[in-house]
Subunit: 145 residues, 2 copies
Amino acid sequence: MGVFSKTCEYAMRAVFFIAHRTTAGERVGIREIAAGIDSPEAFLAKIMQDLTRRGIVNSIKGPNGGFYMDAASLKKPLSEVVLAVDGDGIFVGCGMGLEYCSAVNPCPLHNEFMEIRTRIQKMMQENTIGDFNEELNLGILSLKK
Amino acid sequence: MGVFSKTCEYAMRAVFFIAHRTTAGERVGIREIAAGIDSPEAFLAKIMQDLTRRGIVNSIKGPNGGFYMDAASLKKPLSEVVLAVDGDGIFVGCGMGLEYCSAVNPCPLHNEFMEIRTRIQKMMQENTIGDFNEELNLGILSLKK
DNA sequence: ATAATAAAAGATATATTTGTCTTTTATTTA
DNA sequence: TAAATAAAAGACAAATATATCTTTTATTAT
Ligand code: FES
Ligand code: FES
């Protein structure tokens, strides 16, 4: 287990990959995305269906079709991807699995964990998909292996 | 999904509960632990078997038997519980699921995620089970609901 | 219109996590 | 020694996450 589910990890990598590969209306196919982020193609296809339904990425069928992101999508914070796939558990949940996290009924990790959780939330909310993309464009960042 | 597996969450809560309930050679039974941390008894029993085999807690069978922790166990960092149950993934793994996390092949989250991960590691390594127990003894902390 | 392309949808399969039940072993008490 | 107690061990079951395969729908190009 990690901070995010495997499904969510694939989703984030795919979204970055699409953002990176599609400027000005270009599209990228599922096969290429899967190869680019090192994920099982059919499984990723399912994940993409979900992201598309939720409007996080856009898609067009048929020849020259594929996935792409418009300007509005690039302005969305990465947290939207996480929320869509994993829900808000990582942003609001108790570190030790108590039903609710609250200062009224705090678990032993509460104080420390709150700060960590806030930090995760910040990283996800204050950076847009487009922000990450700019760094990716510098060519030093990786989405596979 | 959270930062830790459900199994690990139960394990941490159980260890705290035992530390809290057993001073000077007293023991506490699995039923009482399960009730005290709000977990399924039979499942927790399995988790405890593992923790016992790994020497994180101690146990004695038969009447007046149960689980307990000696002074040495209380001095162990909480990270030992996490390592025993979930492995080191949360301490060393890549936030986006790349096979290895490294500065040589960094994912887009790498810099930010490294700091978060280090923070988690610190919380777990620099606090012993006994440390948490002292706070628990103040009676303001909770292990259930 | 037809054929080709590519995503969407639906059904199914596998693996892992979470959870339960029964039997066995160790220990204590009577 | 016999009965009672409590954890250990092993087998089994359910739920969820991960993964694959087939069919359908939308779009494009011929
Ligand atoms: S109650 Fe556990 S993190 Fe807040
Ligand atoms: S490479 Fe992803 S966190 Fe370090």
